[in-house]
Subunit: 286 residues, 2 copies
Amino acid sequence: MKLKKDINILIIGLGIIGGSYAMALKKQGYYVSAITKEKSDIDYALKNKIIDYGTTEIEEDLIGNSDLVIFALYPGIFIGWLTEHQHLFKSGAILTDVTGVKSCIVHEIQSLLREDIEFIAAHPMAGKESSGVQNSDDSIFKGANYIIVPTDKNSESAIELCSDLGKILGFKDISVLSPEKHDEMIAFLSQLTHCIAVSLMCCSDGENLERYTGDSFRDLTRIARINDLMWSELFSLNKEALLSQMDKFKNSFDELYEKIKSDDIDGVRKMMRYSTERRKLFDKTN
Amino acid sequence: MKLKKDINILIIGLGIIGGSYAMALKKQGYYVSAITKEKSDIDYALKNKIIDYGTTEIEEDLIGNSDLVIFALYPGIFIGWLTEHQHLFKSGAILTDVTGVKSCIVHEIQSLLREDIEFIAAHPMAGKESSGVQNSDDSIFKGANYIIVPTDKNSESAIELCSDLGKILGFKDISVLSPEKHDEMIAFLSQLTHCIAVSLMCCSDGENLERYTGDSFRDLTRIARINDLMWSELFSLNKEALLSQMDKFKNSFDELYEKIKSDDIDGVRKMMRYSTERRKLFDKTN
């Protein structure tokens, strides 16, 4: 199932990700509407031609005429919104999302949803250290990963449509993962790295350190500038997987600590050589 | 004391840092010689006009005619080289270095050195993930910090000359720190960050993770590709300061871990807000 040009797309939640989706889709000729909380965000998006139409109201006609609905809300309010308003969707509508954690929401949503509507979860692995529709920028999708997270309740055609959406948005790689595999991966690659950056930034209040800071420290702490509302919620929703990855890192860090402490230079070098070899896998290939 | 144009500069050890020094100095019109172990490195440097003259031998005339000698050797062999060959230096010669740790070498070198020669320690905070004279690149000094690390045995004029050298090499900021302050700072900003990157790279052998890797993980592990010979030596030489910084990080990481585990969302958000505020200090200003 391809994303036809004449469909109506509705984005719920116009922050940086919702705005960047709208920007990319409108550039490709789609008609894009949005519902969001703040009037000023709608005004900004209309003025800057990010959307074709926008409102802060629950407009029944708008929702009832939408073929593809993209939820770009914080996970905590996403399920509440659906429960309250799902009776307004047209039969056959496809819903998708941009949420960074999956196990905790996908199954619940698929259970509560009307049978004639399909929710196919997706995670665009792209972002910035800024937030808000004013920072919308569809170039963040270039070279990034788009992950489709289906369950056995999803149809092949919805997976295909979601894949097409990822391509239209400009993502480089489109993959498919189960909710559990997704959450394990995201706990390691994204949440653990944010925990490390925050801990590093918090662990020393030394003065004037910034005068001597080089690229290593800057690179490790770039993501220490963090949206505390969103990330604390994501951590909490993926708590078990995250704590398990944090344990693994702690073990590895403790191992290195003990080797340095006991003057086990060979052991330290062995870890460094393993690290160097394994890092090569993660070089950008594009 | 300014670095006069007609002086003879000798670099001992032609790796990436020695080579990049030579490149920058020769571009500024200085006559630069080098002594290094491998004939092929001398050949490369001569062919690519990185140096004016080079040899793998301990040439007495060359050493005896050098006004400024820059040691770009691993710390472990640096002191041995000096002990063996210091009788060859001309009276009044100034020696400096590029070593990444200071307390463990500066005092020892200043004690063993002939009285008519001055050693002024310096640390160019610049580098790459690659090594060898073939990777020489004087652009790595642009925007970087150059730290002069004098003791009370150093003269004002040697500190001034060293500062002039940093400017000529193209460094953005030239600072002065005591050996102990330098080592504490480097343990935190540089060595701890490398320990974190290596531990993160070693802590999971999950397959196919590279397919989903975004910028966060890549940024945190860029320096996980590491020269194990050099860095294990630097860690070992700065062991106490490094272990102390690793302890601080462990405490901070454990604090975050416990807050996530006990669902203390407010506590997690508080750490994130502190981290976000403090990170602003470290933004590049140029």
